[in-house]
């Protein structure tokens, strides 16, 4: 690690001004659980300026406004996991947050950092995309809101410019009756990044038929995407073990089609299928705590 100029702004305005002044040479620091690791790497390009946003209280909130849940980027995984707003309106996100790292990491790591770091294994991203989240980017020039589904260019790269700050995450709270689940496969039971994961949100009508489905596999694609092919397969049908198994095979086929057959396909192909099936089954059993 090399010396850098450290700025700790007290407001978003000051923060974006600092980012603007320092062009592309500044980095935003939130919880630091990704950034500090990055800086350990040999030969890494250290920023000249570090803008520590962790003291901007207004970026910490977790609130319900009308039909929407609004998150400040500094909401930590620990807070998400414990928040009443999240547990009742988006338990799938609380569930994903609870699988991240360890208590220490969850108490420091933020949702903003998780999104902006853009690792293919970021655990809050698949649920957020399945929830239909948008993110607000602020800069000295103003703000813009974009869909999270179109936010990532490739692993570790987003459409945000170096002068933009992520200031808000917004998504509609799940309606009663909507089912949602997150399943994570990791090599060990704590402090373990996703080998693969799946987020699913499913709505059913009064007759029990599926009216809407969103399935987002994690750590599978280079850039997260919903698997429309599998979602369409579900819509209009009654939930069943065979249907879910078929959806799993479809998701798996879509992933393999994108990545091509490679040395790891032998494992991923059956496992993605199984995880998707389990996630859908879990929607109708555990439902990650949502009232059904």
């Amino acid at each position: 690690m090399k010396p850098f100029t450290y700025i700790a702004p007290g407001s978003v305005k000051e923060a974006v001004a600092a980012l603007h002044e320092n062009g592309g040479t500044a980095r935003v620091l939130a919880g630091g659980t990704d950034l500090l690791l990055e800086w350990r790497r040999p030969g890494v390009r250290m920023p000249a300026v570090v803008v520590d946003i962790s003291r901007i209280e207004s970026l910490r909130r977790i609130s319900l406004e009308g039909p929407d849940i609004l998150l400040g980027p500094l909401a930590t995984h620990g807070e998400l996991m414990r928040s009443g707003v999240i547990r009742s309106g988006a338990a799938i996100l609380a569930s994903a947050a609870s699988t991240i790292g360890s208590p220490q990491i969850r108490n420091r790591g933020t949702i903003g950092g998780n999104i902006m770091n853009g690792a293919p294994c970021a655990d809050t991203v698949p649920p957020l995309i399945a929830l239909g989240a948008t993110v607000t980017l602020s800069s000295a020039d103003g703000t813009r809101e974009c869909h999270l589904s179109g936010f990532f260019n490739k692993p570790y790269a987003t459409i945000a410019t170096g002068e933009e700050l992520l200031t808000q995450v917004r998504f509609p709270a799940l309606l009663p009756g909507t089912k949602a689940s997150f399943v994570k496969l990791a090599r060990r039971n704590a402090l373990s990044i996703s080998r693969l994961s799946v987020a699913a949100v499913v709505s059913v009508d009064d007759s029990g038929l599926i009216t809407d489905a969103r399935i987002v596999p994690g750590a599978a694609h280079s850039v997260w995407k919903r698997t429309m092919e599998a979602e369409n397969l579900l819509i209009g049908k009654a939930p069943s073990a065979t249907l879910f198994a078929e959806a799993g095979r479809v998701v798996s086929a879509v992933v393999i089609k994108e990545t091509g057959r490679r040395w790891s396909t032998e494992y991923k192909e059956p496992v993605i299928a199984a995880l998707v099936r389990r996630t859908l089954e879990k929607c109708f059993t555990d439902n990650d705590g949502h009232p059904s």
Binding site: K2, D34, L37, E38, R40, R41, P42, S102, A119, P120, C121, K154, P155, Y156, L185, R187, R188, N189, A190, L191, S192, I193, S194, R195, A219, A220, H221, S222, E258, T259, R262, W263, S264, E266, Y267, K268, P270, V271, A274, L275
Partner: protein
């Protein structure tokens, strides 16, 4: 009367180092600093195998704040070291043999300047072909890593007539097993502080396991007498066998820099540097072929093991020797032919790690045993009891076991505690569902201490103060395993005083005798015996003084509860402190030296026959797992660890060893793997090298079996390594019970359990390939973006 019966031997006393460690007053090597100290850093190789064409240090030396830049040519004395084969270089001179080799040293006013200076050193290499597969390294014509060829160890055991054994068999089982490189993962990385000593020579405080062998190498490198080199052990933050040669080279390097600058030099490895440079546990390729009769009797064992020794010999000759002695497991067989080889490659060199050649063979043996049970139609407990050694049995090396051989006892206890036989039958029959349960069993016998590796003796010194407090010091080191507590408790036991009155001093090479290395689970049995001898010397003097004070013959006196008491009526004559003060007044010696030399062992290298170890320990583990058959995820839900330790000096210390051993063994079985691709490590820190967390280790039930052994102090033997050597096979056998599939390569990770084999990246990871691989999306996801 046996003094220990009413004293603290066996009691779960608090560790002597607990207070300092939990309050933060314990001083680890990196906590030491001196005014005007410099920071030392090492420039390491850029190639796993290359000839060094030139090294230009000019620019680095000119950097402001740099006080010294050294290369191999600057070493005044011996450039090479090695306990068995002296072929490891302090700094590579002509050739680098693995990526962790040091090429140059810098001492600078800050670690940052030192690192900057490393970047300014220009080394020109001529790359040589890389040998990374140990079996390929054995081929005629394989590139040579050292001039004498790649196969540098071949140990044999020959017993009976192997052809006859197979001819007598009803069936033959043949399997190939493989194990992985394992990192020690002590929480503390390597660290030293070296300072030029007052009257010449050098003084080093460090995180060093085997101070006496490190000292020899420093003295040789600097052309000093041994008495001019003082190594003091700082409180150690874990070793597990890992602070030997890597610390020797760090000591030598820091001492060279201190000599060159005349200033103290501190060196601390980052975790990344530590993983890159440090030696690992040997990966083994093991070919097991057993002949057996339908009733489960084993008629022949043919065993061939190839150990990847990496770039240097290190402890390989000894590690593989333990393997050859123990390769048959504790099972009777008349006809044995075992060959164990160690070969050089351009991988990290491999050396001592908890287990020392046993975890590998135990995985093979105990897997074979279950396969044999399967073929013979018996359950895993029956087959083991049928074949296991008993008192009077003769091992594969022709040694008659003339002590309590408790295999049946430990096996039955482990099986009983977990409900083995009933569960084994039930789980085997259940074939439905994605999550399947299984139970597995494994046992072992293990030679205690060094055995025929070499001289096995140690010193301890006990010094009673005038206030009745006691100082114990020894050449046996405490690395966190608790040797200090064991020795102190033994001394407290001899004196009949509370442990709180005893203080243990970390090893200082200038103040205690060379006691050999603290390895091979010999701390308690050897160091403890020396401490007992030392305390008994002083005890005799003190009892003599007490006799004079009271007019009662010392023969009728003993020490208990802090007093000298009359044996007959247990009346208290004087406190221990009063007697100590009187002893001082009378000018009698209150200092005792204890020496302990282990009983003789024998070995014939040509036939592999002899009394390899003076005694053995026995243990059994039982595991219950749940296997997710769709993802390959294995969870260990229950675990029982049973060890015959001879006698527990401190029950909590023994339990701690047993539980920690299981946790490490679980990592060996399920998670850990230091992957090298063409000599290049694929992991650099704990985000990539996964060890079990507290969420992965189930509560471990421990059962301590005590069959006192006359060879050890108060009957104590050892537990540190046995505790670690059979967890993995117990787990793998449980996976077999759950799934009917045998894992023959460790670790049993997601892919191996799901697919039956590991995922392997095709072809070498050459630099051209690397670019494309990195850019492809399904590279296993890392928290931090992939390097380069």
């Amino acid at each position: 009367m046996d003094p220990d019966k009413q004293t603290i031997i066996g009691s779960p006393e608090r560790r002597v180092d607990a207070w300092g460690k939990v309050t933060g007053t314990a001083k680890f090597a990196a906590d030491y600093s001196l005014p005007h100290q410099l920071y030392g850093k090492v420039l390491r190789s850029k190639h796993p195998h290359a000839r060094i064409v030139s090294i230009n240090t000019g620019n680095a030396a000119k950097l402001r704040g740099v006080e010294a830049v050294l290369t191999a040519g600057d070493i005044p004395g011996s450039r090479k070291f090695g306990v068995v084969v002296k072929n490891q270089e302090i700094l590579a001179g002509e050739k680098v043999r693995y990526l962790g080799d040091g090429v140059a040293l810098v001492a600078a006013r800050s670690a940052e300047i030192a690192e900057e200076a490393l970047r300014l050193i220009d080394v020109v290499y001529e790359a040589l072909p890389v040998v990374s597969d140990p079996e390929a390294a054995m081929w005629e014509g394989a590139p040579r890593i050292h001039p004498e060829g790649n196969v540098f160890v071949h140990h044999k055991v020959r017993k009976g007539d192997i052809e006859k054994g197979f001819a007598e068999s009803d069936f033959v089982i043949q399997r190939r097993f493989r194990t992985q490189f394992i990192e020690h993962c002590a929480i503390e990385t390597e660290a030293v502080l070296a300072e030029p000593a007052e009257h010449g020579g050098v003084k080093i405080v460090g995180s060093i396991q085997n101070l006496f062998s490190s000292r020899r190498s420093v003295a040789a490198a600097l052309n000093l007498d041994l008495n001019q080199v003082q190594l003091i052990q700082a409180t150690l933050g874990g070793s597990f066998g890992g602070k030997d040669e890597v610390m020797t080279s760090m000591c030598c390097r820091a001492a060279l820099l201190a000599r060159a600058t005349g200033r103290p030099v501190k060196m601390v490895n980052t975790r990344e540097e530590s993983m890159l440079e440090s030696y690992k546990r040997h990966p083994y390729a093991m070919y097991y072929r057993w002949g057996a009769k339908n009733d489960g009797t084993i008629t022949a064992m043919e065993i061939r093991c190839i150990a990847d020794g990496g770039a240097y010999a290190s402890m390989s000759p000894f590690v593989t020797w333990r393997s050859v002695v123990q390769a048959t497991g504790p099972y009777a067989c008349e006809n044995v032919r075992t060959d164990v080889y160690a070969v050089y490659t351009n991988n990290n060199y491999t050396g001592a790690m908890r287990g020392f050649g046993s975890p590998q063979v135990n995985f093979a043996i105990e897997s074979m045993m279950d396969e044999l049970a399967e073929r013979a139609g018996m359950n895993p407990l029956e087959i083991r009891i049928r074949n296991c050694f008993r008192r009077g049995s003769v091992t594969a090396t022709g040694q008659k076991l003339d002590h309590v051989v408790s295999l049946q006892e430990v096996l039955e206890k482990a099986a009983g505690e977990i409900g083995f036989e009933e569960k084994w039958k039930r789980y085997r029959a259940a074939t439905e569902g994605t999550h399947r349960r299984g139970v597995g069993l494994a046992c072992s016998y293990r030679g205690v201490s060094l055995g025929a590796e070499g001289a096995d003796a140690a010193e301890a010194a006990v010094s009673v103060q005038t206030d009745g407090s006691v100082i114990v010091s020894s050449g046996i080191t405490d690395m966190g395993q608790g040797a200090g507590t064991q020795m102190s408790q033994i001394v407290a036991g001899v004196f009949g005083i509370p442990l709180g009155r005893v203080r243990f001093l970390n090893t200082d090479t200038s103040r205690v005798a060379d006691s050999g290395p603290t390895v091979a689970s010999r701390g308690t049995i050897t160091g403890g015996a020396a401490a007992k001898n030392a305390a008994e010397v002083v005890r005799a003097t003190l009892l003599g003084v007490a006799g004079e004070m009271s007019g009662i013959s010392p023969r009728d006196l003993e020490m208990a509860e802090g007093y000298v008491v009359r044996t007959a009526d247990r009346s208290r004559l004087a406190s221990f402190a009063e007697v100590a003060a009187e002893c001082f007044e009378k000018g009698r010696p209150m200092h005792g030296i204890g020496w302990h030399r282990s009983p003789k062992t024998t070995w014939d290298e040509a036939t592999g026959q002899g009394d390899a170890y003076f005694t053995f320990v026995y243990g059994a583990n039982a595991a219950e797992v749940v296997v997710d058959t769709e993802t390959g995820k294995v969870d260990v839900e229950d675990f029982v660890s049973v060890h015959d330790v001879g006698r527990a000096i401190n029950r909590d210390a023994v339990r701690g060893q047993m539980i920690g051993g299981v946790a490490m063994g679980l990592g060996y079985g399920l998670l850990e793997e230091f992957v090298l691709e063409e000599g290049i490590p694929a992991q650099h820190n704990f985000d990539e090298y996964l060890i079990p967390t507290s969420m992965d280790v189930p509560p471990v039930k421990t059962v301590i079996v005590e069959n006192e052994d006359p060879a050890g102090p108060f009957g104590a033997k050892s537990v540190g390594e046995p505790a670690n050597e059979i967890a993995a096979p117990a787990i793998v056998n449980a996976i077999f019970n759950a799934t009917g599939k045998r894992i023959t390569e460790l670790p049993a990770d997601l892919e191996r359990v799901r697919l039956g084999h590991a995922l392997r990246r095709p072809g070498p990871r050459g630099s051209a390939l690397k670019e494309t691989e990195q850019s492809l999306p399904d590279l296993s996801c890392k928290i931090r973006p992939a390097e380069r």
